[in-house]
Amino acid sequence: MEFVSPEGLRLDGRRPLEMRQLRAEIGSISKADGSAVFEMGNTKVIAAVYGPREVENKSQQISDKALVRCEYTMANFSTGDRVRKPKGDRRSTEISMVIRQTMESCILLEKFPQSQIDIFVQVLQADGGTRSACINAATLALADAGIPMRDLVTSCSAGYLNSTPLLDLNYVEDSAGGPDVTVGLLPKMDKVTLLQPDVALPEIMQMDSKLPIDIFENVMQLAIEGCKAVAIYIREILLENTKQLEYRRGK
């Protein structure tokens, strides 16, 4: 199947190096300490952060830093076929752990000993790149909650189809079977905090699942550029939100 037309257009009309449209909203869940909705094209994700607050299970509390819990779920209606098991299945558990480790690397946990920070992320519409959208939404929600962080964590995915590196894959491109990688980046510090490749298995003899190292580097670099673009957008949104809160409350 052709994922990049001879003119250089992808299935949804984008150029290979073009990201999908980003849209973010902060403070959607009024009961949570921090919340955000993040959209990357048709992928829509909502994140809620509670904390730092008293640990529910005293046996789990850590004496010198905060405990971070993360739960990733997909709404039943988020994919084409109704999702049967929203949480508890292997994929959700794995992604929960990935998001937790990514956020733990940037939150200043030592400031809140013996307390707990809960991050809940739910996918409302899944169209590829849900992992990245969840990390971006979690970053926004943590910033909204006023939890101090070393840096914003942003995430983006990139792949390689029809001998072209493609940025920000949607569901069709993601399930095409080509190799792709999700990258999480701390933009200011320029440090990669998450690198998850998804290399296809050699199901068909002709299918080349091996990716030469220079092409892999190319694809990874493309994803990093995508992360930086997301960071610029997130930063704008947060700055606008801060200014708005300030001028509204008055003196």
Binding site: P52, G146, K188, L239, Q244, L245, Y247, R248, R249
Partner: protein, 327 residues
């Protein structure tokens, strides 16, 4: 933004936007210049080694960066980032309202919307008979007669420990001395409203008795606001002491006979909704503003449940814009 809670039609949206734009133009420009987000560099003269790096800042590779979203404040040599929205950080002397979550051996654990639950020691509450004395085991066993789980109490922060845990003591506002504990401390006829804590500023007075409406308003610094019935204080010595130590049965019988007037209940609801409207719009919550909204809703004959609707919220925003531009 919180406006997603209220539905507005097209004209209301335009009016609200216009009111907010007025507020924006009235705010000082220096404030918006000093806004930072996470990992923004804070402009500071690093050669000056006497700069004190306060909350919300992080020294990274010789640069000072912000760890929170907020406003950079500079007081003398101290540079810190004041984060707008965050959980309540207790300070000594703050009056707070909280909900009891646990009755432990010689203390109560109180939820105060902070990083940790507040701790109210048994010794920090007046004993049932009013005499200042050492607490005995009988007192510990009778703790539930004073406060139980889910009770709403008002207290003052006595001191703050290293990990931001607040030690509380229960205080009564009445005449500045600690009188009978059921008068003010335990609040059970009214509403507890949760607002963002940055909207409630530290003032001299947090307890407001509105005699003409029969309402008591407590603006807790932690963002918990109590709006309840104003009960006339009974003289502590009048009540039989033995009645109290024998459990809460006598107390509840008395309370059952006393029902709140309809008008008082309506006033409580109206004032609560006024607080909610302020919280939705993100304006500072002070008693004057609450009473202004209360009067506005009564003068326009707005139904109590309509106060949370789009039209009234837009009116309040426009009123606030007017008020601030006049100041």
């Amino acid at each position: 933004m919180k406006e997603t809670q209220i539905t507005l039609n097209q004209t209301q949206k335009i009016r609200l936007q216009r009111a907010l734009d007025t507020l924006h133009s009235l705010s000082s420009k220096s404030l918006s210049d000093a806004s930072v987000t996470v990992a923004d560099k804070i402009p500071v003269n690093l050669n000056d080694s006497s700069i004190l790096k306060g909350h919300g800042t992080l020294d990274l590779d010789g640069e000072l960066i912000s760890t929170n979203c907020g406003i950079v404040e500079r007081i003398d040599r101290l540079v810190y980032v004041r984060s707008t929205k965050s959980r309540y950080i207790p300070e000594t002397g703050n009056v707070i309202v909280g909900r009891v979550v646990e009755v432990a051996q010689d203390r109560w654990k109180v939820d105060i919307n902070a990083y940790h639950d507040g701790v109210l020691m048994l010794a920090s509450v007046t004993s049932p008979d009013g005499i200042q004395r050492r607490r005995t085991e009988a007192d510990e066993l009778n703790m539930r007669n004073t406060f139980e789980e889910d009770d709403v109490i008002s207290a003052e922060v006595r001191n703050v420990q290293n990990n931001y845990t607040a030690q509380l003591h229960a205080r009564s506002e009445k005449y500045g001395k600690i009188t009978h504990y059921t008068d003010f401390l335990q609040l059970d006829r009214g509403q507890l409203i949760v607002v963002p804590c940055y909207l409630v500023k530290k003032r001299k007075q947090h307890f407001h008795q509105l005699d003409e409406y029969g309402v008591l308003v407590i603006l807790g610094c932690n963002g918990y606001v109590w709006v309840g019935e104003l009960i006339e204080a009974k003289d502590g010595m009048e009540l039989d002491i033995s009645e109290q130590t024998h459990g809460g049965f006598t107390k509840s019988e008395e309370e059952e006979q006393h029902t709140t007037l309809l008008e008082t209940r309506q006033n409580i609801c109206r004032i609560s909704n006024a607080v909610r409207v302020l919280s939705i719009l993100g304006f500072n919550i002070t008693l004057e503003v609450i009473l202004e909204i209360f009067d506005l809703s009564r003068s326009l004959d707005v139904e109590i449940h309509d106060m949370l609707g789009g039209e009234f919220c837009v009116l309040v925003a426009e009123r606030e814009a007017e008020r601030r531009s006049q100041n």
